[in-house]
């Protein structure tokens, strides 16, 4: 899979630990949470298929 590289320009904070720092605007903390890409493709077999009723088993037998 192609990897997307995102250039980031964070606010420059003198410390990585915001709560111990008198500065009030900080860079985002590194606390990753995976976000897997979801499958949005259609179901393999449609749940409702008019064709299934119109073509009963006997008729499709070869």
């Amino acid at each position: 899979m192609e990897k997307t590289v995102i250039a980031l320009s964070d606010h420059k904070s003198p410390s990585t630990e915001p709560r111990d720092n008198p500065t009030k605007v900080f860079a985002l903390p590194e606390a990753p949470m995976p976000m897997p890409v979801q499958n949005l493709s259609p179901a393999d077999r449609p749940r409702f298929s008019l064709g299934r009723w119109l073509r009963p088993q006997l008729m499709v037998r070869s």
Partner: protein
């Protein structure tokens, strides 16, 4: 709830079928050409869609009885996300300052993260300057403020938030997703957190944002409609939602872990407009959360949630173009594996909200063309004539179809008016009208909004039809920045943006006048606003003079967070102006 959905669906279908049948009966005394049949089908679909909207309004008339449970203590860590892209930095950052200061003594950890996708160097410099002001302004006892800017806007807004979650999401439990123009009261934010803490399966809690700070005739009418009718229609929606509620992309609280696990959006195969990045990502994210078994909910009782709206028709149409492309993209997701039926129904409703304009426009064209092949009316058709000639001993009167035409007209107008008039009644009974200037002022506002809506409906329909045709022709509208704030249009600007509507209206009027003059009275309410579209657009973009009309509760009693933001923003603006003056000297 399922019964309610089925009832609404059946009633809408019945209304559509009745409209189509009445139209055919009316047309049958002349001759039923193919164009009449097409017009009848389109009228049936469009009427069913109107009836569905009316059903939602009527369903929301009764107040919600049960207040959702809330936890006593707050343990969750929350981050307020403010994704921005080429916005007015000073205004946006002053909103963050107002909310942060309001939350400074909150019994919870609530931080702020400004997620910038701003690309222009000028915009980036403005954000750096506004950030310095924000740093001076924020309370030391309140939540921390984070800022980061992406230089590549992969995935646009949804990608902006996804990048934040992938990088820093584990540092918080909940995220309150805002727009650049959002403002929320501290009390509302805390209530939302308490409700989410009390319901472990709740992963997305949507508020109904109230439009504020509109100044123009158009903006104030939209603002009034959102404040007056919006809550009732949202209650109707809430009664149908079950666990599959809506997500409108902002002013909503999400449970970060569940959102991360379920809402990673792929690009759709192919190129925009049908493929590529999913534009209306919010509907899809709500559907994916529901697919994973989580609850998505809108709580119509939550106040204190605000946004700003477009000030004129052109800005509205620009935003609508993006929504049109995004909603039509959902047609590709209708068969996505595992989605709940109601999620698919929500997709269909989103698609229909744009297709309906196309249906109305095609109905009008088909009805006009049908007039070309219209034969002289036959007042004694078929069996009646035979009876009269051979058997008749009683007088036979001619068939009068005008009753059907008037009945059909009144039925459709009724579907448009009835819900709004019932909302007026509900507001008078519950004394909600007091916040809109009293019963008299509220009634005048409702009537003024109805008249304005009727005048602008053909213009908005024309814009939607153009968007629809552009998307179907494969034109990508992209994601233009929202035009916020003052947006007064001059007549030349309005003409440039709407001359295609005037041309279309002129051609249709000329055709109707020469070829089907009998239809002219029916067509004038549509064609005249099209003809005068530039005038209407320019006029409605001007500041509204009569403040008692379209008054909203926020104008009567300014909410604290809006007042605080006003104070901070005015001060920042004055400082910026004096700074520029010093630099110039």
């Amino acid at each position: 709830m399922i019964g309610m959905r089925a009832l609404g669906f059946v009633l809408a279908l019945l209304a559509g079928a009745m409209a189509a049948i009445m139209f055919i009966q009316y047309a049958a005394i002349t001759r039923l050409s193919e164009w009449f049949w097409l017009a009848a089908v389109l009228l049936g679909i469009s009427t069913a869609w109107l009836a569905w909207g009316a059903f939602l309004g009527i369903l929301g008339l009764a107040p919600m009885r049960r207040r959702p449970p809330e936890s006593d203590a707050i343990t969750a860590r929350t981050v307020v996300l403010v994704p921005i892209c080429n916005e007015d930095a000073l205004n946006t950052f002053s909103r963050v300052a107002a909310m942060q200061r309001q939350l400074s003594d909150a019994p919870a950890q609530i931080d702020f993260a400004i997620l910038s996708d701003t690309t222009s160097p000028k915009g980036a410099r403005a954000e750096a300057a506004a950030l310095a002001r924000l740093e001076d302004e924020v309370s030391t006892t309140g939540g921390k403020v984070y800022y980061r800017r992406r230089t590549q806007n992969t995935g646009r807004k949804a990608g902006n938030i996804a990048e934040f979650i992938a990088r820093s999401g584990a540092a918080w439990d909940f995220a309150l997703v805002l727009d650049a123009d959002s403002l929320m009261e501290a009390a509302t934010i805390l209530t939302m957190i308490r409700r989410m803490e009390a319901a472990p399966d709740l992963t997305l809690l949507q508020t109904l944002p109230r439009v504020v700070r509109a100044r123009s005739v158009f903006g104030r009418a939209m603002q009034f409609a959102a404040a007056f009718h919006g809550p009732v229609f949202t209650r109707g929606l809430a009664r149908l939602q079950g666990r599959t509620g809506p997500y409108w992309g902002h002013n909503a609280l999400v449970r970060i872990r569940a959102f991360a696990e379920s809402c990673g959006l792929p690009d759709l195969p192919g190129r925009a407009p049908s493929g590529g990045h999913i534009l209306s990502h919010d509907y899809v994210e709500a559907a994916l959360l529901a697919r994973a078994g989580w609850t998505v909910r809108v709580d119509p009782d939550l106040g204190g949630s605000f946004e700003e709206g477009p000030e004129h028709v052109v800005a509205h149409a620009r935003r609508d173009r993006r929504w049109c492309q995004g909603n039509l993209q959902h047609a590709r997701l209708l068969r996505t594996d595992g989605l709940r039926l109601w999620s698919r129904a929500i997709f269909v409703q989103g698609i229909m909200s744009y297709l309906s304009s196309g249906f109305w426009a095609t109905f009008l064209i088909a009805a006009m063309l049908a007039g070309l092949w219209q034969a002289a009316p036959d007042y004694f058709p078929g069996v009646v004539a035979i009876y009269h000639e051979r058997i008749g001993f009683l007088p036979v009167l001619p068939i009068d179809a005008s009753g059907r035409a008037i009945g059909l007209f009144l039925g459709i107008v009724g579907l448009l008016l009835l819900p709004k008039l019932l909302v007026m009644l509900e507001a008078a009974v519950t004394r909600r009208t007091r916040a809109h200037g009293g019963n008299g002022a509220a009634l005048m506002s409702v009537l003024a909004e109805l008249i304005l809506s009727a005048m602008l409906a053909p213009v908005l329909m024309a814009y939607q039809v153009r968007s629809l045709l552009q998307v179907l022709a494969g034109q990508d509208g992209g994601w233009p920045s929202n035009a916020r704030g003052d947006g007064q249009l001059t007549l030349p600007e309005a003409w440039a943006a709407s001359k295609f509507i005037t041309f279309a209206g002129t051609i249709a009027l000329g055709f109707a006048h020469t070829m089907v003059p009998q239809q002219l009275p029916w067509l004038l309410p549509v064609l005249l606003p099209m003809l005068f579209a530039p005038l209407l657009i320019a006029w409605t973009s001007h500041p509204a003079r009569l403040k008692t009309i379209h008054m909203t509760p926020e104008e009567v009693d300014l909410p604290p967070v809006l007042a605080l933001h006003d104070a901070i923003f005015s001060r920042w603006q004055e400082d910026a102006a004096s700074g520029r003056a010093v630099a110039a000297a």
